[in-house]
């Protein structure tokens, strides 16, 4: 027996490690949205790096804009160049400020319309793989966030928080395959489940007999307990009716451009 164990030591140890890995995975499957100690620790450990990288990115962008301006200015008259440079710099800064202002005003407008407390957050990282659709935001448990909160922008639904650490949280985007949102078509109130499909979203379990056209707006139904009612999800871009079955499948073009997320609002919960 001992001889057998010695001879197959590597294989046995590898099998035990694989069994551990499988057990960890199957255990995690039951608690997908909650961050455990390991995840919280790693997220907390890396959050300063993300903060630093985020600020460096802003600095580099500013420097780069300044550098471009400088090289352009060198080709012209010095005095004029000075004025042009200043004006261009101002213009760039103003444009940046205007864009930021626009985004924040939109968020603020959304904030005014909504009846629940929100907290603004910045997107500081995206998902490590190309297959899943999650982002990391710079707010966490310390800011009052918890797992399963709705994340939105002025255009509509972004996703929901999963795995919150003290300073950062991850957001499962609405276009991830693991994301499911209870939804309804705005004009005829047809209910369905909006499920992520990478770049698009599909609306499943919409009754076949309901009249649906491309361009119809899809909004949150407010029945899942996460998203408030009436938030835009997107517009129907394709209607697929199979030869048989009770339901039709509808493809939705999301109202939010998930590749350009910068600032988001996290809805802390419905007002008491």
């Amino acid at each position: 027996m001992l001889d057998f164990l010695k001879r197959h030591q590597t294989a046995l140890l590898f099998s035990s490690l694989f069994l551990c890995a499988l057990l960890l995975y199957s255990n995690s499957l039951r608690q997908q949205n909650k961050a455990n100690l390991f995840e919280r620790g790693v997220l907390q450990l890396t959050s300063p790096f993300y903060q630093v990288l985020d600020s460096i990115q802003h600095e580099v962008a500013t420097l780069w804009h300044n550098y471009i301006n400088l090289t352009q200015v060198q080709q012209t008259n010095l005095i004029l160049e000075q004025r042009v440079r200043e004006q261009r710099q101002q213009l760039l800064q103003l444009r940046e400020v205007a864009q930021e202002n626009n985004r924040l005003r939109k968020l603020l407008h959304f904030h005014e319309e909504a009846n629940f407390p929100e907290i603004p957050a910045r997107v500081i990282a995206v998902d490590a793989s190309s297959w899943f659709r999650t982002v990391t935001i710079d707010k966490g448990l310390n800011d009052g966030l918890r797992d399963g909160l709705a994340v939105v922008v002025a255009e509509g639904v972004v996703g929901r928080t999963i795995k919150c650490s003290r300073r950062t949280s991850r957001v499962l985007l609405a276009n991830d395959a693991a994301s499911e949102i209870s939804a309804l078509i705005q004009h005829n109130r047809t209910r369905g489940v909006a499920r992520g499909k990478g770049d698009t979203i599909t609306l499943n379990y919409a009754l076949r007999r309901k009249d649906v056209k491309t361009g119809d707006a899809v909004i949150t139904a407010g029945t899942g307990g996460i998203f408030p009612k009436g938030l835009p999800i997107g517009k129907i871009s394709n209607v697929i009716k199979h030869d048989y079955g009770m339901f039709q499948t509808l493809e939705i073009t999301p109202s939010v451009d998930f590749s350009r997320l910068e600032e988001v609002l996290v809805i802390l919960g419905e007002q008491q």
Binding site: T10, L13, F14, L17, F18, C20, A21, L22, L24, Y25, S26, N27, S28, L29, Q32, N33, N36, F38, E39, V42, L43, L45, T46, F49, Y50, L53, D54, Q57, I124, A125, V126, D127, A128, S129, S130, W131, F132, T134, T136, I162, K163, R170, L172, D176, A177, A178, R195, G196, K197, G198, T202, S259
Partner: protein, 176 residues
């Protein structure tokens, strides 16, 4: 222990680069899978048990920043390490092409194992189409990354050898 610390630091750095620096440079949809490349390297260069543990740990680290389930990539990286270790020992590890071959097979196996695991254990069947669609591009970018790293390392190696030779020549002159 030293190796474990080193791989952890490298792994965390690669993940930070992959999630916050590379999206700015190459976009969100097309990024090299740096942790997979690191695991393939470990598979070709480490001892079986330590390597398997490093691979699993790196996969779990990746899971913290990827998808929703802890352990998914951990399990897949462990299997990829095992395959690379067994396959790599049949080849001449001194040859740079082995790493390229490992990258091709590793990327394909990673995608297939991901699809298989998601189909068997979770309800994310829609992911499989997404993963299959993105596989050629992912393969191309992983190969490009490995080629670039191999080229840079060979340039650095040549330069260090040249410096060493120059140092020996100067030493001989001093001796004479």
């Amino acid at each position: 222990m030293k190796h474990l610390g080193l791989y952890l630091i490298i792994g965390i750095s690669l993940i930070v680069v992959q999630t916050s620096v590379l999206p700015l440079l190459v976009g969100i949809s097309l990024r090299p899978d740096l942790i997979l490349i690191l695991v393939l390297y470990i598979g070709l260069n480490e001892t079986p048990l330590a390597g398997a543990f490093y691979a699993w740990l790196l996969g779990c680290l990746l899971d913290v920043f990827c998808g929703t389930t802890l352990g998914l990539n951990g399990m897949i990286m462990l299997l990829i390490f095992c395959g690379t270790y067994i396959g790599g020992r049949q080849l001449n590890l001194e040859n740079d092409l082995v790493m390229l071959l490992a990258t091709i097979i590793g990327t394909i196996c990673n995608s297939l194992l991901l699809i298989l695991t998601l189909l068997c254990f979770s309800e994310q069947s829609q992911s499989s189409v997404l993963i299959l669609n993105g596989l050629p591009a992912q393969l191309l970018i992983n190969l490009t990354t490995v080629l670039t790293i191999t080229f840079l390392l060979s340039v650095l190696h040549k330069r260090s050898q040249r410096n060493k030779r120059r140092g020996t020549y100067q030493g001989l002159q001093t001796w004479h």
